[in-house]
């Protein structure tokens, strides 16, 4: 059952992104930014966490989940560290995902060769 909800909610979040791409001419980078900021806002007003509890990875894997994570981390940091938390909360919350992207990005750049995309079409 958890998988069905993950599929449906995750799929729906992606489908909304596709609608935005096709109908608004928003560039991919702008869509990613909108998703993260939307996630922060929805997380802040407490709407997104119930969705994560319900749909699991279906809500946490899309970038809105990343935004929600930022909001959640910020809440915890401000509670624990007060004013300093405003500055540490964001990066602490997203540290795992971003560090993974940096490290694996670097590793791929070192190990792999670029691909010739014209051979694939």
């Amino acid at each position: 059952m958890q998988y069905l909800w993950a599929f449906l909610v995750g799929g729906a979040l992606c489908a909304i992104g596709q609608v935005l791409i096709d109908l608004t001419k928003l560039t991919p980078a702008r869509i990613l930014v909108s998703y993260v900021v939307a996630g922060v806002i929805l997380g802040a007003i407490g709407v997104y966490q119930p969705l994560v509890d319900f749909a699991g990875a279906g809500a946490s894997v899309p970038l809105t989940g990343f935004g929600n994570l930022l909001a959640k981390g910020m809440r915890k940091a401000v509670e624990e560290d007060g004013f300093l938390g405003i500055f540490t909360g964001g990066f602490t919350a997203c540290a795992a995902g971003v560090a993974a992207a940096v490290i694996f990005g670097l590793a791929v750049a070192l190990i792999f060769r670029r691909t010739d995309r014209t051979r694939q079409e």
Binding site: D22, R117, T118, R119
Partner: protein, 339 residues
Amino acid sequence: MAKYINDGTIELDRGVSVYSCAAAVGRMESDGPLGNCFDYAAEGAELGLTTWEKAESTFQQYAFDIALRKAKLIKEDISFIFAGDLLNQCTGSAYGLRDTDIPFFGLYGACSTMAESLALASLFADMRIGEFFAAVTSSHFCSAERQFRFPINYGGVRPPTAQWTATGAGCCITSAAEKAPFVKRITVGKITDMGIKDANNMGAAMAGAAYDTINRHLINTKTTPQDYDAIYTGDLGQVGTDLLIELFRRDGVQIENIHKDCGLMLYDREKQDVHAGGSGCGCSASVLCGHILPMIAEGKLHRVLFAATGALMSPTIVQQGESIPGISHLVEISDRQEG
């Protein structure tokens, strides 16, 4: 001696010949409908080199070398080279031709550079300032993609109006000689801004320029589209082609039967994922040098207009919100010296 007619149109003296030509292309282009007609077709797009930029330069070098070889010329026979490409500061040409030791004019006309360089090389031939002249251009999907858009391995979404930069190069060698095909007239493009701001819709940005140049050529030479076997545009793609036909239709001029677009000819859009069609200097260059000019030399075509089209933009300027001006240079080519 060349004669100025009116409003950018120049009539050349009799006997300015495209003495030799050659096209070198990548794998996708040789897999397309014109695949058999190119002088050199690579296995892929990298030619075993470490950077895409080196590969693009090498395509240009190949086109130049093959064009020389086909005419049994050596590089010392060439008096001037006119060359350009899409890379910043025209480095594709500069690096591709740096070992030639031939006086060099670097040109930038975006994807219209094939017609621009051929026009200048023809004018020099007309003026007899030297004997042989080379016009060379290239483009490369991967080097263009990383400069203008995204990294090759990025999974961004391309809208249906986007075009596919052709990988390839073309070279024409002109001379005052009695050997078909002949360059008869030239109409120089004007910078034409139709107000299009979408960098994923270059065909729409350039169609106005193509209309302006072709229309001026027809008026200045007192000809109609029916006087030609074909009117080729460079890389308008499907959207630009539809717009060009509509613009002429508004004047009561029918061109759909004789108009062809190199961007639509180079690929099979059903089987190859190129969206609205091909683009890039290498697109019109390889179709001109691999298909159109040989057809004229064989007498299968008699009189054609070749109007390469370019979008004079940079990613920086487009991000600043400016619209995209287009330009189209036109060369009239015939298999006869007279008329």
